[in-house]
Symmetry: C2
Subunit: 464 residues, 2 copies
């Protein structure tokens, strides 16, 4: 079996070499770089890595792979967290880094059209002169194709939506090497099956996204931020629920537990009270941003929030969010040499306090030190466990705790992943979350669009 | 062929009679009622109409139909406008009116779970005590299942989204009589193919939606409205574009052309200036709703808007929106005995002035009197032509004008339908809008989920 695939891959490489030249790479270094993502899943080498520049080149690669039954693995910057880009059955990895053209910026329509290798920071740099921003901000400076494929989000999803809400149209090369064009530049449409949303979140198993039309949002006139500590997790979450019920369009509302706050204080030299804490950001006109902050302050007081520290000062705000952003490094600094194992859960917001308390109990009952942070307006939270590389016992414990979190989330009516996706790591939960009929429908769709199963095989749509 | 289907239908009816009793109807009156929607498409009688109360009954109906190769046609209240519910190949129509249970209201999560026959007004009545509202408001008091199936919207979509944005989860009976469960109560998820969005807008061709979980929004503390007349269409649209670029979250922004304003004045005894006009609604805290209005007023002045009439008075606002709502009757009153033929178009907002001017030229070059109204924040507009029932020449002219509008929309990068859908009437545009590869992908998905083609056959996914 393996021999056949290798032979097929060799034939596909032979076919593609004249087209791609030195943008088709079989060196050990490059293949090793593309054998893993940021997860702890077993790495697997691709047979080759292609760096196409155009959609036509992507079509040629897929065609050569289809003709030779060779897997195709789309790859953005490799920042996925559940093994999405691991070529578990070998094949040719399509790295989209050279597909980095900003095709068109349409300020009047609030849209940008980009090749799928464009990263979110790059897009925002290009937008600087327009007064518009692209709002989806996962931790990494990921490619937009990768973010779309994992249905990614970040800290501003409560106000501005996830990739689900911000991808308006796309182009993708499917397994038969055709280009499927989805959506349009109109803000809404009632025509045809919603193929845009089918490709968003499909993790490259239905095709290779080559171009995206994404929604842009006006950069607000005023931005202010606030920090508020709470006596316990439940009070913090209740305050968020009420702010949501009031319809206050918080641009950011991030939860950090005591451990996270202590780590931040230590690393970023901040002096926040070591307690469950909410960090807020408000966007609007100066008056409206201030009013939102005042409304939220009143709500926090109702739930025992202490010393609501509001600031419209750009430097103070930058310092606060830099500290939040540096939490990754702050946590790593607490245990030199460690890596972070990060779990990702999303529950109905009404069950969030319960979910986080369950996570705390899990940490308390373990020999690992975990910390909890969350994009709590969405009911989404992460638990990060610092573990030592190569320590199988710690890895197994982190995996055990993460599995427990998912099981608890599903019991509470939540999902197995809020923003990291299924990849390889969460395949085992797909059926528990969606049920047999839905998973069989997914598999039927996968077979319909990719009968030979060459698009990112061994993952969603085929397994699970 | 017809004989075989009739025999199959008779067998299916025989099978279902003991289960459904008098909720399976074959009378001419009921079949005739379900032979058409509000469009001018040729009516076709179903073989029978079933009125299930439960999802299990829907499963039994689909099973009996599948076993006998009988078409299944989901039916809400029959308010669709492109022939969606016409049983073009006969079969059993599933009328969901008895599936009218509010399953659960979840104020903390801002969600309601309803059976698919619940109508939008009924849901809002049930929500009255909660301070929450369901925002999607097509003209008719449609069923939520029907609204989801046509990806419907209405006047508040710019601020609160369409059915695409407001259906968070659903249950549907597919052609094999399985129940597919999509989505969850979590606000976001990165797991699995997005089946929710696949069923939303599928017009009953992939399954019968039995239950929906929809998003609710807080009823704003303050609501105000405004009216502003403009020297021409282009100025009105440019004002809207700028308000959109400023990020002002207008709850409603409706355009009416001179003809529509004259009709409204005449019917509702209002005294608006007969000119291209924008009607606004603003939601928020009292201060923020007023600030939005002031910002919009400034913008309208930049574009020659005259006499921006703002009001926070509930009675005045009610009168204004009642007049807008009565436009249908106002237009019919101008030509006693007429019916309205309504075209539905949505273009990128940057091309909206161009699109509306094209529509005006079409009206000027025709013997029909048309009027233009639009949900212009979305780039969506309608042209209504009053035509006399049974007048083939007028119908042909209205169809010719409506086709021209779609062709122009597609040239401008828009869509063939903003909110009415494909049905039978717009099947011919599916390929022009989406391209061959996308339409073939849609057909492959349809075949995968409904290999015998029993779900609302002769429509999207099978034809076009």
């Amino acid at each position: 079996m393996t021999d056949t695939i290798v032979t097929g891959a060799e034939r596909a490489i032979e076919t593609l070499k004249p087209l791609l030249g030195d943008r088709l790479v079989t060196s050990d270094a490059v293949r090793t770089h593309h054998s893993h993502d940021t997860s702890y899943m077993e790495p697997v080498l691709p047979d080759a890595v292609a760096f196409p520049k155009t959609e036509a080149e992507v079509q040629a690669i897929v065609k050569a792979c289809a003709e030779n039954d060779v897997p195709v693995i789309p790859y953005g910057i490799g920042s996925s967290m559940e093994g999405h880009t691991i070529p578990v059955r070998g094949g040719i990895t399509i790295d989209t880094r050279e597909m980095s053209q900003i095709v068109e910026i349409l300020p009047e329509d609030g849209l940008a059209v980009v090749q799928s290798g464009v990263t979110r920071k790059r897009l925002n740099e290009e937008l600087r002169a327009t007064g518009l921003m692209f709002s989806v901000d996962p931790g990494a400076d990921a490619s937009l194709g990768g973010m779309a494929s994992t249905r990614g989000s970040g800290t501003m999803a409560y106000r501005y939506g996830t990739m689900r809400d911000n991808v308006m149209a796309l182009r993708a090369v499917t397994a038969n090497a055709d280009v499927v064009k989805t959506g349009s530049r109109a803000r809404k449409s009632s025509t045809g099956y919603d193929l845009t949303h089918l490709f968003v979140g499909a993790e490259g198993t239905l095709g290779v996204i080559t171009e995206l039309t994404v929604r842009l949002h006006p950069i607000p006139e005023a931005i202010s931020s606030a920090v508020c500590a709470f006596p316990d997790v439940g009070s913090a979450v209740q305050a968020v629920i009420m702010a949501v019920q009031y319809g206050i369009p918080m641009a950011r509302v991030e939860f950090l537990d005591e451990v996270a706050i202590a780590n931040v204080n230590n690393y970023s030299k901040t002096t926040m009270e070591v307690a469950p804490t909410l960090l807020f950001e408000f966007h609007g006109t100066p008056a409206w941003a201030e009013e939102q902050a005042k409304l939220v302050e009143q709500i926090t007081q109702e739930f025992g929030g202490k010393d609501f520290q509001w600031s419209a000062d750009a430097d103070e705000r930058a310092k606060l969010w830099q500290a939040r952003h540096d939490l990754y490094w702050a946590t790593k600094a607490m245990r030199p040499g460690c890596e972070l194992f990060t779990a990702d859960i999303c529950v109905p917001i009404s069950r969030l306090a319960e979910a986080i308390l369950g996570a705390q109990q899990g940490i308390q009952g373990s020999f690992l030190q975990g910390q909890i942070i969350g994009h709590v307006g969405d009911g989404n939270y992460h638990v990060a466990y610092p573990i030592m590389p190569g320590n199988a016992e710690e890895l197994a414990e982190a995996e055990r705790l993460a599995d427990k979190l998912v099981e608890h989330s599903l019991e509470l009516g939540g999902t197995a992943s809020g923003e990291h996706g299924i990849g390889v790591g969460k395949l085992k939960f797909l059926r528990a979350e969606h049920g047999d009929a839905a998973v069989e429908a997914m598999k039927a769709i996968k077979r319909a669009l990719d009968p030979k199963g060459i698009m990112n095989p061994g993952k969603m749509g085929q397994e699970g």
